[in-house]
Amino acid sequence: MYKITRKAFLTPSVCLMEVEAPRIAASAKPGQFLIVRSNETAERIPLTICDWDRNAGTVTIVTQIVGASSRIICNKGVGESFSDVAGPLGNPSDFCSLPDEQLKGRKYLMIGGGVGTAPVYPQVKYLQEHGAHCDVIIGARNSSLLIFADEMKSIAGRLFLCTDDGSVGEKGVVTAVAERLIGEGEKYDAAVSIGPMIMMKFCALTLKKYNIPLTVSLNSIMVDGTGMCGACRVSVGGKTRFACSEGPEFDGYEVDFDEAMRRQKLYRNEELAADERCRARLGEDKQ
């Protein structure tokens, strides 16, 4: 079970994998995530579902190496298996419950940041297939972290790339591109932003000015991912919500991003130490 059938490094630190998980492939919808446990001693790691093939029974995950557990995931090769892949978890994107008549002609602004671009992909695919129109902005620190540009180009209405250093696309941040498009007279019915917390926070601050409903997807710390532990709790509209079972998508204007960012750092020291040990185990040099 959970055999890796395809593996490709999209950038030196971002890895795409297709994994055999027929039950998840059969029921996955845009917006949902899954949990991977690499081996018997590994953590349970939440990852967004980037794509699926219902016939082949595979799901596509995209992992950025940020610590020990993601390093172990990306270190697995084709033909090897994960101990566990559980899902799909969380709620599908709200637009999945809209009838096609309502989706037809709706205009979406879809913003992906870094590895957060991967979960935007199935949403764009779904929306375009159901008659909506998506302008997509992909942002990254530099060209080596920018992923999914080609894949997105083939399905999106228009695609805009930007990097902090200008190494590919426009030089600047996603919010600047969004403001330019709106300034040029584009009217969006809704926006989705998925990426680093800080990017989603600034998307909220920017798009609020134009009254465009904004959905964000939170990648909080989780253990079970089924609503049992509450590690992922986040303040939304002043109320505590569980990102795993009540999210992962929430109204971007209601999320307390500062608290969410602080909570993400809870295990920072443990994570750094674990990654040191992991690299030593894998015989890798310090990056």
């Binding site: 039950r23 998840i24 029921s27 949902q32 446990r37 001693t41 590994a42 953590e43 349970r44 020990a68 557990s69 172990i72 101990s83 566990d84 892949v85 559980a86 899902g87 799909p88 978890l89 253990v223 079970d224 089924t226 609503g227 049992m228 532990c229 509450g230 590690a231 709790r233 986040v234 303040s235 505590t240 079972s245 608290e259 602080r262 909570r263 750092k265 809870l266 295990y267 443990e270 994570e271 674990a274």
Partner: protein
Amino acid sequence: MRNKIPRVPAREQNAKIRARNFDEVCYGYNVEEAQAEASRCLQCKNPGCMTQCPVHIDIPAFISKVEEGNFSEAARIISIDSSLPAICGRVCPQETQCEGSCLLGKKGESVSIGKLERFVADYAHDHQIRFLEKKPSKGKSVAVVGSGPSSLACAADLARAGYDVTIFEALNRPGGVLEYGIPEFRLPKDSVVSYEIDTVKSLGVKIITDVLIGRTITVDELLDKQGFSAVYIGSGAGLPKFMGIPGENLNGVFSANEFLTRNNLMKAYDSAYDTPIFHGHKTAVVGGGNVAMDSARTALRLGSEVTVVYRRSQAELPARAEEVHHAMDEGVIFKMLANPIEIEGDESGKVTKLKCIRMELGEPDASGRRKPVPIPDSEFEIDVDCVIMALGTSPNNLIATTTKGLETDKHGCLVADESGMTTRPGVFAGGDAVTGAATVILAMGAGRKAAAAIDGYLSPKDGPSVK
């Protein structure tokens, strides 16, 4: 006249030493101790112990076999009614059930039924004795949701009755609360939980992990597309409660579920495992139930100083007396008649203090216990860097919201009749998913009842094949 010796105590790990390890606290009886304790049983004609046991084990019969030294026969007698005796012998609240109605206990000390059950189960394990008789196949399949005690009991009975049973478990290991909730020092995972789950599997029950019913597959799909004739929902009560006080989302505040899951299921206490756990220097555990005791004793073993904060007095602690005494012996501090009102943190959002108010007991409330009332202007603070909320859990609404025709009550519990039948034909439920958080053995009792009801529903003409 029966042997008038005092109750034989079970040997335990020294409190100071065990407060620093995760090995089992209680060693249990050896053969001599078990036979001596068994010789105290009065062999009552109308045994109250048996009536009070939620799964109605023939307690006097198995105890008389222990006294005779026929441990294998004792194990067979227990196996008729329980598939999880090594677990129940360890975690059942015997003092309020079987032992609570033991005639000897009226004047002195009751027979140590729990420790005897554990002895028999451990003996059977050590000698690889398993009782796997089952009826011929009925050619019908039943799906069981969740793999906690209620599901395991239901699945075992159904398998023995000849049904093809598949359990779906959301987590990476089966066992439910036995695996993620109850710590190793009270319930060893490999030697006890996994072994007894293997017994259930040996009856032919299939267990599929990583499947969250309601997301991966729905109950409707199990019935309509996957060929199951009935479904048992034993999904438990996994949703943790918080107090709703300021500061609860600060870094260092955890639900008992998270703290225990990291440590038990994910084995954070073992350096060979990758899952991190935050353990403070000074931890406050809020609550007074068994889960609060488990959290406190776990935090203690991870190296923290631990204070249990409980709003009533010691007499009202809902935890088993044995657990409270163990916690006290190990050095857990108890602050009774105190209720948290706020958690304070530093600039970086880390917990620094737990602000509480002193309480006094007023008139009895709906639960019959005296209601704690705050004493005005009695606020005080405890220095802590970790707060664990052990306030109870409620059922997750995922299955109810994704299954047609399944009703819940105002607490989010599934509505089911005495036999476990829900408002949807063919769908049965029991355990914490129906009652809200309760005990392992009550969940098992509900699972057994539902197994009998499912048998009646699927094979009405055959007569009962589930005892």
